[in-house]
Symmetry: C2
Subunit: 281 residues, 2 copies
Amino acid sequence: MLKKIREKRDQLNKSERKVADTILLNPSVVTQLSIAALAKSAGVSEPTVNRFCRSFLSKGFPDFKIQLAKSLVSGSLFVTRSVEQNDSAEQYTDKIFTSTIATLDAARKQVDVQAIATVVDHLVQAKQIAFFGLGASGSVARDAQHKFFRFNLPVVAYDDVLMQRMVAAASHTGDVIVIISYTGRTKDLVEIAQLANSTGATVIGITLENSPLAKVCPVVLSVPHVENTDIYMPMISRLTQLTLLDVLATGLTLKRGEGFHQHLDKIKQSLQSTRYAIEEK
Amino acid sequence: MLKKIREKRDQLNKSERKVADTILLNPSVVTQLSIAALAKSAGVSEPTVNRFCRSFLSKGFPDFKIQLAKSLVSGSLFVTRSVEQNDSAEQYTDKIFTSTIATLDAARKQVDVQAIATVVDHLVQAKQIAFFGLGASGSVARDAQHKFFRFNLPVVAYDDVLMQRMVAAASHTGDVIVIISYTGRTKDLVEIAQLANSTGATVIGITLENSPLAKVCPVVLSVPHVENTDIYMPMISRLTQLTLLDVLATGLTLKRGEGFHQHLDKIKQSLQSTRYAIEEK
DNA sequence: AATAATGTGGTAATATAACTACCAAATATG
DNA sequence: CATATTTGGTAGTTATATTACCACATTATT
């Protein structure tokens, strides 16, 4: 909303621009103002404010106020500002969390649900699953292995190119190979994907849309592009990948049905003895 | 807001309860109604609605509407519902993302900024850093290694108990050992923490507040308790840990100052040749 | 340069919505 | 059973928003 106002600001005429500026200056208080009060503080007449509101696809001033109020909430939750050199611990902590949340929210809105369903179907039928990733995505692959191993499936994860190449070459129909790469521009992985394709294995890419890797994977779960924070090291992109894998694991659990929960419980219980009991309060 | 209304519902008198029910039935449309329209559809008079609004600490009906609208936004973003057996791909995808976001948001509000600052200070001074984790937290530890290695520091990560025990025993003052465990109830890790403590190393725990592990770590970054989804496998808890590590890495980057960016750039460029160039559109 | 035409902004009237004061009915309570 | 007290509504008042209309300014055109 505020963004819309900012964009349209320059196309407005003098008086309406005054209104826009007044709102942008302090959007949250405008929320509690009457049309007369806003008109006065912007130095214009009431109808001008009304006209302004209408030009922002609202029914009138009260309607506009409600839309504004709404946008302020979601706005304040998700306004990502990039970290700056002199930020205090509090500031950068908040910024990192906020932009992480914003990215996940963006991902949520963009996920191709159809693709999720397709991937889950492939995974359900898989005789064997391999997760490939390099660098930061290597730990994502390992994490996936941990999760999917609980499904009683042969699952492997590799984070070095040679092993990946060998496994890809040796794969056959019924095997599923999931290749994780944020940028999708790592040459080796693209080659490995092509290699695996030719053996009849199902190749699934978790990567940036339209990337070279995405283009050679028959099935792609696309990860939205991340703005700010990943400049110096992969941070947020990873979390999206992990969350997507969580979604896949959940989908798989559901497909397996009720009885399968017992199996998961068993695994969980097997860890009991390594732990301290939960204390009663 | 809706929660408040639900709570107060039983204390209201007949007519006001009608109003409450009408609002709860369809909160989002109420947002666009006038006081008269709402009164009519609830089958009461306008002043009743007004009285109702006042009893919810608002100045009047319009004010109430704005508050309601606001609460609907933040509400709809963060209402986590647990995954159910018959959920469609769309449903469980959304649920996983939503509860992940909600958890991160909760974490954001609960992080002990002071602890973050303290940990960063320790990391800055560290001669050597070791990340320990088992199972799912093992991949978190590896991920941390990837990230912190870029700081030109000797960083190691171990996900097996024996190595961890040996490293802990061999550590000395100036070494920092970060132990990652969601539950904080793994016996081995608690023992390892104690062992490392006795050698003079700085032991930092990333774990649940008040857990056995937290109690033996001089410095603790606490991860808030996760409700729903982690029943069968660690999913969301992990993401909080990772985000906290991102925050630490960011803090460290800032402490290192401007000149350090060049170093990070160099690392990034070293990966260039393994990649396909970014295509022009 | 003068005039028409369009755009811009305001005044005043009108309609609408919200609120207040007051009253009536219903339900308690002694 | 009578009297309080709570509850809900009517009608009037005030505030608020909207519309219709007009005036001024700016610009284009002859």
